[in-house]
Symmetry: C2
Subunit: 352 residues, 2 copies
C-alpha cells in the first residue's frame, strides 16, 4: 500500500517558540513539560505562538481478539460490544473525560466480533462502521489477520485523520477498546524489539500471576509461529497485531500527513504509534505519548520511540482517557504562549 | 493563639466511595490516582458520590524575605511587587492556568516589602492587603519575624479559608510568590526534620552551583542561630519561615476546620502544609499535594507528610500553577463518580 508522507517539521518556529518561552514572566523552564508542549505545537503548526487548538477529536477504535481463547483476560469478549454501547450512551470513563475537556468522541468499529448493527450516532459519540473483519484469529495458532486486512484497517485510520483535517480538527487523540488487546500490543512490542513475552506482558485489566505467565507464553508462541520481520509493520500486524492497533497506526500516518498532532493514549495506542513508526519513522515527531500507563512495558515502549510520557496518574484503562488529559494540556500550553506577559511588557525584572 | 479544629473525617462515605468506584464500568483501580481523589472528596464531604466542586478559589500569598541579602536568588526582591502587579493585570502563568480551569484567584499581600498601595481588585484577581510587615528579617543573622507576627500571618490564612467557606467555595488552592522563599521553605523543612541545608536546598528559580552551596550554608547558619524546636510550628516560622508560608499554614488549618479540601501547590505551599501539620497533625487528611515539584526536596517533604504528589510535570514555578491543575483533576474525579454508568446499569459483564 502507498503510505501518506509526513509533513515537514518547522524547526524555525520551534526555535522561535523556545526563545519566546524564555521571555515570558517566569524563570526559564519553570513550567516544565508544559513548555515543551508549546514548542512542539509550534514545530508542528509552524506558528509562534501556536494557535490554541479549538476543536479536538478522539477516535476510539474497537476490535476483538481471537487470542481471547487462550484465557489472557478476566473479561469475556462480549464486553467489547457492551462497552461500545456504553460509549454511545455516554456512560463510560472516556465520555466523562471527553465532556470535561471539550473533546469530540468518534467510536470506530474496525473489527468487533459481536453485533453492532443497532449502533447510530448519539449526542455522546459518533459511530463509524468500518469493520474489516469480526475480530482477529488466535495469534497463538494462526496469523491474526491477512496482510490485506491489516492494510484495510490502516487505511481506515488514515481516512479518519483526513476526515478530521477536512473538518478543521486541530488535535487528534487515539484511543481503543478491545478485550485482550494488551496481549496483541505486547506481542507487537516483542516483535519490533525482539523482546521475550515475559518483558512485554502486563496485567491488562487485572489478570493474576498464573494468567500473566500464560500471557507471556502465548506471546512467545505467537512470535515463534509467525516469525514477523521487525522492519515489516504490515507483517507484524498481520501475525500478532490487532485491527484497532492497525487503525491507530493509520491515524498516526494520516495525522502526520495533515500536520496535526496525534495524542496517543496508553499501552495499545502507543503500540499503534510504534507500528506507524516502523512503517515510516518520519511519523514520530507528530506523536505525543499522553501518559505513563500502569501497564508494565508501556514506559519501555514509549522510550523506544524516544518519547517521554506526559502525565503519570497510574491510569491503565485505555479508551482514550489519558489522551483527553494530554489534549487539555496542549491547549493550556498554547494559552501560556499566547496569553502570558513578557518581562518587557509587564515591567518585570529579569535575572540579575 | 487558639487554632481551629479540623472537622471529623467521614470514613463511611470514603468506604462507600471505594465500593462505588468498583461498580463503575472499568476494571477496578484502572483510573489510578483519579479514583483516589474521588474517594478522598467523599471522605471530606461525607457524600458518595461527592458533589462536583463548582467554585474553586486559589489564594496566592505574597511575601518578601530578608535573606535575599545573602544572594540566594538570581532575581531581585523587586520582582515580588512586579509579579503581584502582573497577577492583577492577568499576565502571569497562574492567570492563564486559573482562567483555563475556571478557578478564582485572590492575591494576598501578607508581607511584601515594596509599595502595593496602588493595588485594587481587577477582572483577573482580587487583591487583599493583609500585610503583617514589609518582608521578613534576614534569618541568617536574626529571627525572620516575631512570634506575634507569625501568628498574625497564620490568622490571615485562617480568615481567608473562613471567607471562602462563607462564599460557598468547595475547593481551596494555596499558592505563593516571594523572591527567596524557597530558602525559607527549605529552612523550615530542615527545622522540622533535622535535615542539613544541603539536603533541603534546591535551585529555586535557577541558581548556579555556587549559589546552591551558599543557600545550604545560609540555611544551616539560620538553624544554628535560631535553634527552633521541631514541635513548635510558630517558633519555626518565627526563626526561619516566611509570612506567606505562615499564611498558607493558616489556610490549611481554616480549610480543615471548614471541611474544605486544600490543594497545595509546590515546594513553598507544601511547606505551609507541613508547618500546619506541626501545629495540628489532624489537618493532614485535608491536604492534597498537587504535583511533584522539580525543586530538590519537595518529594521528600511531601512523603514526610504521608503524601504522594498527584501530577508530575516538572513544574517549579509556584504561584499556584500546579494547584490549579490538581483542582481540575478533583472536578474530573467527582464527575467520574457522578456520571459513569455501573456494570449493572449499562449491562456490561463484570469479571468472568
Amino acid at each position: 500500500m502507498e503510505l501518506p508522507r509526513p509533513r515537514p517539521w518547522n524547526h524555525e518556529a520551534e526555535k522561535a517558540a523556545r526563545a519566546h518561552l524564555d521571555q515570558l514572566t517566569k524563570p526559564p523552564g519553570s513550567l516544565g513539560k508544559i513548555e515543551g508542549l508549546g514548542a512542539w505545537l509550534s514545530g508542528i503548526t509552524g506558528a509562534c505562538p501556536p494557535r490554541v487548538p479549538a476543536r479536538a477529536r478522539l477516535y476510539t477504535f474497537a476490535g476483538d481478539h481471537g487470542v481471547t481463547a487462550e484465557g489472557v483476560s478476566p473479561y469475556p469478549s462480549a464486553v467489547t460490544v457492551q462497552m461500545v454501547l456504553n460509549f454511545l450512551a455516554g456512560g463510560a470513563a472516556v465520555n466523562v473525560f471527553a465532556r470535561h475537556h471539550g473533546v469530540e468522541l468518534v467510536v470506530v468499529d474496525v473489527g468487533v466480533a459481536g453485533d453492532l448493527s443497532m449502533c447510530r450516532d448519539t449526542e455522546h459519540a459518533r459511530f463509524v462502521n468500518a469493520r474489516v473483519r469480526p475480530g482477529t484469529s488466535n495469534m497463538a495458532v494462526e496469523p491474526a489477520m491477512s496482510r490485506a486486512e491489516a492494510e484495510a484497517a490502516i487505511a481506515t485510520g488514515i481516512r479518519m485523520a483526513r476526515a478530521a483535517a477536512a473538518d478543521g480538527i486541530e488535535v487528534i487523540g487515539a484511543g481503543e477498546m478491545g478485550i485482550c488487546n494488551t496481549t496483541a500490543a505486547a506481542a507487537c512490542l516483542a516483535a519490533v524489539h525482539g523482546m521475550p513475552g515475559k518483558l512485554t506482558a502486563g496485567r491488562g485489566t487485572g489478570i493474576d500471576d498464573a494468567g500473566l505467565a500464560r500471557k507471556a507464553r502465548v506471546i512467545d508462541a505467537a512470535i515463534a509461529r509467525g516469525q514477523p520481520d521487525r522492519h515489516d509493520g504490515i507483517g507484524i500486524l498481520s501475525e500478532v497485531g490487532g485491527l484497532e492497533i492497525a487503525a491507530i497506526a493509520g491515524l498516526c500516518l494520516g495525522g502526520a500527513e495533515a500536520g496535526i498532532p496525534v495524542v496517543l493514549d496508553g499501552f495499545i495506542s502507543t503500540c499503534g504509534g510504534l507500528v506507524a513508526s516502523v512503517l515510516d519513522e518520519g511519523v514520530r515527531p507528530y506523536l505525543l505519548v499522553s501518559h505513563k500507563s500502569a501497564e508494565n512495558a508501556h514506559w519501555a515502549m514509549a522510550r523506544s520511540m524516544g518519547k517521554e510520557p506526559l502525565h503519570d496518574l497510574d491510569l491503565r484503562l485505555g479508551e482514550g482517557t489519558g489522551a483527553v488529559l494530554a489534549i487539555d494540556s496542549l491547549r493550556l500550553a498554547a494559552k501560556v504562549m499566547n496569553q502570558m506577559a513578557t518581562f518587557a511588557s509587564a515591567g518585570v525584572s529579569n535575572r540579575s
